[in-house]
């Protein structure tokens, strides 16, 4: 994606969200609306400047490279991981998460990685849960 196109898209998106935000904020109680209105008005003003600057400065165009497939699949895995934490608990879901990530992104070392994943998950769980006495979810499924 071209950087100028990306900047324009973001600026228009932010203005598109900030304008209705301003309408909402006007109805807030007097003290509660001061900073939100200031912040939103600043966002609208600055993004307008960004649009004008991007249109005028065409020579400074770069290519933005985002591995969309990798990042979106990673995000999907992260969301699934979060869902599983709630259902089956931190330890099992973290172990599965490690195995899946290493399995997908580093296939060469799959078998040792499975053992490494188990070890790392157990280590993290023991350190945080027992060492620091931090409560980590145990999972709804196990009561």
């Amino acid at each position: 994606m071209r950087s100028d196109f990306a900047d324009l898209t973001i600026a228009i998106l932010v203005i598109g969200l900030a304008v209705p935000g301003c309408y909402d904020a006007v109805d807030f109680r007097s003290g509660a609306k001061l900073l939100p209105l200031l912040a939103l008005a600043t966002l609208i003003g600055l993004n307008t400047i960004l649009i004008v600057k991007t249109i005028l400065q065409k020579h400074d165009v770069k290519k933005i490279n985002i591995p969309i497939l990798r990042v979106s699949s990673l995000l999907l895995m992260c969301l699934t991981y979060t869902f599983l934490i709630e259902k089956i608990g931190f330890f099992i879901s973290s172990t599965l998460f490690f195995i899946v990530i290493v399995g997908i992104f580093d296939r060469k070392r799959l078998v040792p990685s499975i053992f490494a994943s188990l070890g790392v998950s157990a280590f993290i769980y023991l350190v945080f849960s027992l060492g620091f006495s931090i409560y980590l979810p145990t999972g709804e499924l196990w009561g």
Partner: protein, 509 residues
């Protein structure tokens, strides 16, 4: 001003609070983590601090802050290891170390370069802590005279740092800063508990947790980037010699450079948002100008490594001056450390010195002692830290994500925060790719509540009179400082670019 008796008493209180097995173990642990993270290109000390801030929630404040002090010191030094051995700056501040450090490695003198790096980092760190100790208490006396209007301007001054943190694109930095302030207003307003932009989601009533925002923005994009580039191949690690030089002889020969670089780093550290890389550039140039053999710089001159590393570790103590005395985070790492104070309900600023002197002075002691720990680790095991680079990117990234999840969950024991963590992670990743700086966004989130609370308080006291914000000399001083900081950032950024261009050209030559 605080009398000598109080000062010594507070120093003793701080040391006593720190001298227990748990705090000492955490200092050592934090320093080791810091060096390891600093040595890994792409991972930053800010990330390590952000991820481990929630852990301090279950620790005593002193023990938690001691660990974070170790991470901060260690991470800045750790950047030198890969800069010297692999020509990869582990941190941006270590760029200048490459000029001579890597040349020394090519000449088979990597052990001498590493030794110079750890000795100058330690001297820089210790001198900066001593300056912090001498400068902070007198500043606190002045800060005690501040009311809501003055604090509003202090926070505005802090926010003006956004301009300095946006050297590549001022407009994008300002957008990020305003976005951060907007994120901070989501939830109940501090005065009337009016729900703002919560869309009937009960979890949003208490707003976004600052720590979750910080972890999401600073740590997750690094994990995404590691996985985006993960090839699954074996990494090439360069073998190094272990031949050392007599350290005290080196110190005797270059003592002026050791001291000067530490002072340069400390002064730059006190200036909010100036950063370690600027300190290194300035210190390196000064060392070169004053050297009898300036032509040797860039060809493997050990004095170049000393100048660069002394300065970038010199910023550590200096950057705590505005944080502890005024509550302004002068760098992204101190913004993350600010989170640890928030976690324990400790208000930064002069009241911290009066209400919790043992915490402040224990932190200063921890900054001092972790320099010693860092020296021992760096002197005896610098090359061992390079082994961490053998950990596959995928395993490293998965580990970072799991740590982030723990960090986000532990603050409020709420799964919703983990979803928000990933939302901010994606936001941070996209912002990084689109050259929007992340630090201004975090600064906006951190300073937004401070600005709003003090603005509303000042207006309430003055029955809505806006001119009450300009009633005192202190307010005017901070108005001027805010304007100078904001408009001076443009000039500073231009000067910084000139320094960097000059070095690049010389290095190429």
């Amino acid at each position: 001003m605080m009398d000598a008796g109080d000062f010594l008493n507070n120093l003793a209180l701080g040391l006593l609070a720190l001298l227990n097995v748990k705090a000492i173990a955490l200092m050592v642990f934090g320093t080791a983590i810091g060096i390891a993270v600093g040595a890994i290109p792409g991972l930053s000390g800010t990330m390590a601090v952000a991820v481990l801030v929630p852990v301090t929630f279950v620790l005593e404040p002193v023990a938690g802050l001691a660990m974070l002090a170790g991470i901060y010191n260690g991470a800045i030094y750790g950047g030198a290891i890969t800069a010297i051995l692999m020509r990869i700056p582990g941190t941006p501040a270590a760029v200048v170390t490459i000029f001579d450090g890597y040349e020394m490695t090519r000449q088979g003198k990597s052990a001498v370069a590493l030794e110079a790096a750890i000795s100058s980092s330690t001297v820089g760190g210790i001198i900066s802590v001593l300056v912090l100790l001498l400068v902070a208490p007198p500043l606190v006396k002045i800060a005690l005279m501040f009311g809501p209007a003055e604090y509003f301007w202090v926070a505005m001054f802090g926010l003006s740092i956004v301009a300095s943190l946006s050297s590549n694109s001022m407009i994008k930095g300002l957008i990020a800063g305003a976005g951060g302030v907007f994120i901070s207003v989501i939830g109940l307003d501090p005065q009337t508990a009016f729900a703002r932009f919560t869309f009937d989601v009960p979890e949003l009533l208490s707003g976004f947790d600052v720590i979750t925002v910080m972890i999401g923005l600073f740590a997750l994009p690094q994990a995404f980037t590691l996985l985006g580039a993960a090839s699954g191949g074996d990494k090439e690690i360069v073998k190094q010699s272990t031949k050392r030089a007599p350290m005290f002889g080196q110190f005797r020969k270059f003592w002026k450079t050791y001291i000067r670089s530490a002072i340069v780093g400390t002064i730059v550290g006190i200036i909010p948002a100036a950063g370690g890389n600027i300190a290194s550039f300035v210190s390196y140039d000064l060392a070169k100008r004053r050297s009898k053999n300036p032509e040797t710089f860039g060809t493997g001159e050990v004095e170049g490594v000393i100048a660069s590393e002394g300065a970038n570790n010199g910023i550590t103590g200096g950057s705590f001056v505005p944080l502890l005395t005024l509550g302004i985070p002068g760098s992204t790492t101190t913004a993350a450390i600010m989170g640890a104070f928030m976690v324990h309900g400790l208000d930064l600023g002069p009241q911290l010195f009066t209400d919790n002197p043992e915490v402040v002075y224990a932190l200063i002691w921890a900054l001092f002692l972790t320099n010693i720990v860092m020296f021992l680790m760096g002197y005896f095991g610098a090359t061992a830290f390079i082994r961490i680079l053998r950990v596959p990117d995928s395993l490293m990234a998965a580990g970072i994500i799991v740590f982030c999840v723990i960090g986000a969950f532990v603050m409020r024991s709420n799964i919703f925060d983990i979803y928000m963590l990933f939302a901010f992670g994606v936001l941070g990743y996209i912002m990084e790719k689109m050259a929007f700086p992340l630090a201004p966004l975090v600064l906006g989130v951190v300073l937004g509540p401070l600005i709003e609370t003090n603005l509303l308080r000042a207006l309430t006291i003055s029955h809505g009179n806006f001119f009450a914000l300009f009633n005192s000399v202190i307010s005017w001083i901070f108005v001027v400082l805010t304007l100078l900081s904001f408009f001076g950032a443009l000039k500073r950024s231009a000067i910084s670019n000139i320094w960097q261009d000059r070095f690049r050209k010389r290095n190429e030559a």
